[in-house]
């Protein structure tokens, strides 16, 4: 049987040609059009833990590495990498390591547990804080307080949040400052606070005193006693006392003096 050689050659040349032209086009484009990436970005990405937790405020470890190399972002924003990570980044960037980032931990700013806070309804829906919050503002009497359906606990990659007597409590040793719980809470109750701070106002209610008292036994009633005693480290935000963590606050007397019993040592 005679084989027509052209019936093999033409397709081979044809597809080969298409491939060759494509490859050439790509090679030329790569040579003349490609944007050179800073080689430090790759190195920095390797220094970071690669957990993509977003705790630094960027969209992931690679994004943070790019921000350090190209936009001069601070090099000590990564809590999981810790001091060793910062030192490695500093070596790549040729910069001083500077001070270790101050360790922050998540804190649930509510202490109205089920013995203190009133429930105004019986919620029987999906066991999720966002769903409960969306259902007529939640079943808790206080519209600012912790709903206790553990959305933050499920968001925590370390399993460091437990539900204690109907409210969320963060295990400070387990916290890696990733901020997942902060974004999981539909009521924005969780804040990242310096680990060194001991005294906190565990209430987020912005209601006036009488309204708070009606629904919770441990809410901030806006009496301003703590603002006077603390020497500026606690300030009022409307009817709510808020701790300014940039200032020193060590006076244990505050805890006893708070008529709402919401200033506590954590």
């Amino acid at each position: 049987m005679a084989i027509d050689i052209t019936s093999v050659l033409i397709p081979t040349l044809c597809i080969g040609g298409v491939g060759l032209v494509s490859a050439a086009a790509l090679a030329i484009a790569d040579k003349f059009l490609s944007v050179p990436e800073d080689p430090r970005v790759q190195k920095l990405t390797e220094c970071l833990p690669g957990a993509n937790c977003g705790g630094c405020g960027f969209a992931g470890c690679a994004d943070y590495a790019r921000a350090i190399a190209l936009d001069g972002a601070e090099i000590n924003l990564c809590a999981p990498a810790g001091g060793a990570g910062v030192a490695a980044i500093a070596a790549v960037m040729g910069r001083e390591a500077g001070a270790d980032p101050e360790r922050k931990v998540a804190l649930v700013l509510c202490c109205g547990d089920s013995t203190e806070a009133v429930r105004r309804a019986h919620y029987n829906g999906i066991a999720d804080c966002a769903a409960a919050h969306a259902t007529a503002g939640g079943d808790k009497g206080c519209t600012y307080g912790c709903l206790g359906y553990a959305s933050c606990a499920r968001a925590c990659p370390e399993g460091g949040i437990r539900m204690v007597n109907g409210i969320a409590v963060v295990d400070r040793d387990a916290c890696i400052t990733c901020g997942h719980c902060v974004s999981a809470c539909p009521r924005k109750l969780i804040k990242l606070v310096p680990a060194s701070a001991e005294i906190h106002v565990l209430c987020s209610s912005k209601d006036k005193g009488p309204a708070v008292k009606k629904v919770c036994g441990t809410g901030c009633i806006g009496c301003r006693i703590c603002t006077k005693l603390s020497g500026g480290a606690i300030a009022m935000d409307g009817h709510l006392a808020v701790v300014d963590y940039t200032k020193e606050l060590k006076d244990p007397e505050l805890i006893a003096k708070c008529p709402g019993h919401c200033i506590r040592k954590v």
């Binding site: 033409i10 397709p11 044809c14 597809i15 298409v18 491939g19 494509s22 490859a23 086009a25 790509l26 484009a29 790569d30 059009l33 490609s34 944007v35 999906i126 066991a127 999720d128 966002a130 769903a131």
Partner: protein, 191 residues
């Protein structure tokens, strides 16, 4: 009128995902969050329109005259993959914002069956150049439409509480099936 029918047919009646069952991987893969789904949709619309144009030229100007129609699949995969890479490079250089929005999705659709499917259907139906491009665009529009509907549904399902055995992928597949069934209702709208 002819063109309107073509668009309606590609978007609704013969929806790529829900009636032709093409492009199922991104349909299930990037349908967790609306922003990601939007990025993917944008990338698919962009690539599918361009790929339709390029493959039309390849088929009509090279494969057909040489009688190599049987090499269609191979040639199309080759050119589409190269095209996507090329666009990736060009986009990164000249339109960085667009690249930031679509960039990570581009490599995902280099060998997407929906893109290849659009090209092959164009040839099978014997569309002209303009019609091919229009078909590619509206098929991608249909893909985006289905993807966004499905993503919206999935975002809600995340909050729901299905029985243990249906959790996760199982309930997603059932949802996709029901959605497909719903789209079957469009059949007969356009012959």
């Amino acid at each position: 009128m002819e063109y309107v029918i073509l668009i309606v047919s590609a978007v609704l009646v013969n929806n790529f995902v829900l009636s032709r069952f093409l492009g199922i991987c991104p349909f299930l893969g990037v349908s967790r969050r609306i922003p990601t789904a939007m990025g993917m949709s944008g990338a698919v619309i962009f690539i599918m329109t361009l790929a339709s144009a390029v493959t039309w030229a390849l088929q009509r100007l090279m494969l057909d005259p040489l009688g190599l129609g049987y090499l269609q699949t191979l040639a199309f995969i080759l050119t589409i993959a190269a095209l996507v890479q090329l666009i990736d490079i060009v986009m990164k250089r000249f339109v960085p914002p667009l690249h930031a929005a679509l960039g990570i999705f581009l490599p995902l659709i280099t060998t997407n069956c929906a893109v290849l499917g659009a090209a092959v259907i164009n040839m099978k139906e014997g569309y002209g150049f303009f019609k091919s491009v229009l078909f590619g665009f509206s098929a991608a529009l249909g893909f985006a439409f289905a993807l966004l509907i499905f993503t919206g549904l999935r975002e809600r399902i995340e909050l729901a509480d299905p029985p243990q055995c249906f959790k996760g992928v199982a309930i997603s597949l059932i949802t996709a099936g029901l959605l497909s069934l719903a789209f079957m209702g469009f059949s007969g709208l356009v012959k």
